[in-house]
């Protein structure tokens, strides 16, 4: 399958990329890792007339802890996340996620920014970034702005970026003492999208859940948090009964579509189990385990 014809640009600076994007407004797509866009173009699901390839913007590849947050350049490869010591040590939920995105070959091309900007509820980073309460940084002709992750996903494959903006960075707040996180994904085989997956980031005060955010993968048209499940946990002891209640709440508020991966009831129940497993792991990690 061969994609439709397009004009190709390979800018070497962000300013050049922004100027090309403005010039071709409406017709252009940004090409990041291309691991979602190129398959979509081969199926002619996407037929952009202009591609602006930002892979030569090496300035957008970095993973750095800056004060109270981790800054990740939009063009950082997924494989780099997997290998980064700081991610393995302090951002365990992110590390869990990076290890299960697609497959190792895809992770050598795929980027963190692309995974988020694509706004596909089946992608893994949206749930993780929702759980982390991350911030997205976007740059446009009028400068830079930040967008809270809760406001970023506006529809299926739709995000809050303006047509002339490029996602440049993702900021993840540094988890405070007593925090733990985990990502649990159920998939038919490596490389497939999740049947369901759950990202949990929480903080314990003793054995009481003092803070928690939960994101769900591939069980809604728009990447979603699980507010009822969060409420079921908040202020309560992290015991088996509470965790089961949170799992059931997530199953009820999820909104999966039936497809080859299963029926609605099946996906809801997998969601219940994924949420429970992620909470259990996050609690164990918050208490200093692995």
């Amino acid at each position: 399958m061969i994609p439709g014809a397009f004009d190709y640009h390979s800018p070497t600076s962000l300013d050049e990329a922004l100027s090309l994007l403005k010039q071709h407004s409406g017709d252009a797509k940004i090409l990041a890792g291309g691991q979602s866009l190129i398959p979509a173009m081969r199926f002619r699901l996407a037929v952009p007339t202009t591609l602006i390839d930002i892979n030569r913007l090496a300035d957008l590849r970095y993973i750095e802890e800056r004060g109270d947050h981790l800054a990740i350049g939009a063009m950082t490869l997924e494989s780099a996340l997997e290998d980064a010591a700081v991610v393995g040590q302090s951002y365990v939920l992110l590390h869990d996620t990076a290890a299960v995105i697609a497959d190792p070959l895809v992770r050598n091309m795929a980027t963190v920014g692309g995974n988020i900007a694509h706004a596909d509820p089946a992608n893994d980073h949206p749930a993780t970034m929702l759980a982390y309460n991350a911030t997205v940084v976007a740059k446009g002709p009028n400068g830079e702005r930040t967008i809270a992750i809760d406001d970023f996903f506006t529809g299926l494959f739709e995000n809050a970026l303006a047509e002339d903006e490029i996602l440049t960075e993702i900021r993840i707040p540094k988890p405070s003492a007593g925090s733990g996180g985990a990502y649990t994904k159920f998939e038919r085989k490596v490389g497939d999208y999740a049947i369901s997956a759950a990202a949990v980031q929480l903080r314990l005060d003793g054995n009481t859940v003092a803070e928690v955010r939960i994101g769900l993968t591939n069980v809604s048209a728009v990447p979603m948090r699980a507010p009822d499940a969060e409420t079921a946990l908040l202020g309560r002891p992290a015991d088996a009964g509470t965790i089961e209640a949170a799992g059931q709440a997530a199953a009820a508020e999820s909104d999966p579509s039936p497809d080859l991966r299963g029926s609605i009831d099946y996906k809801r129940d997998v969601t219940r189990v994924m949420v429970k497993r992620s909470i259990e792991k996050a609690v164990a990690r918050a208490k200093g385990g692995n």
């Binding site: 439709g4 090409l31 291309g34 691991q35 190129i38 190792p104 070959l105 490596v190 490389g191």
Partner: protein, 162 residues
Amino acid sequence: MSEHEVTVTINGEKVTKTVEARTLLVHFIREDLSLTGTHIGCDTTSCGACTVLVCGKPVKSCTMFAVQADGADIETIEGLAAGGELHPLQEGFWEKHGLQCGYCTPGMIMSAKGFLAENPTPTEDEIRHGISGNLCRCTGYNKIVEAIQYAAEKLQASEGGE
């Protein structure tokens, strides 16, 4: 529609060609460079039959445009048997029966070459993780894992001997 001059180093040889922007790297390799050892399996970024090394990293060449590879160093299965002598990975697949139909083999070998360069002494689990982007419908994978273990040991031994 734009056309672009692309220069790549492929298996050590520098070549320049003009390609349409939409030409996928795998089509460039197979049709423009006549290196048909790199296979097309699924066309959906699932199977890994088209795996090649781009600047040392194994990637799916069906999910990258040739124009993106301008300036890159590319290695395909044809680059492995230097002077007609099998590479330890090829020898491993031969000795351990790491293939039946052989369709996935070039991709498997290029993936393995990529991760062995980073981790020359992988555990069995690490090998299975390393080839998890490559599908094989014949072998059940055990023989492939053994083939890669064979190659890793042989490569280690030859390095130790230097």
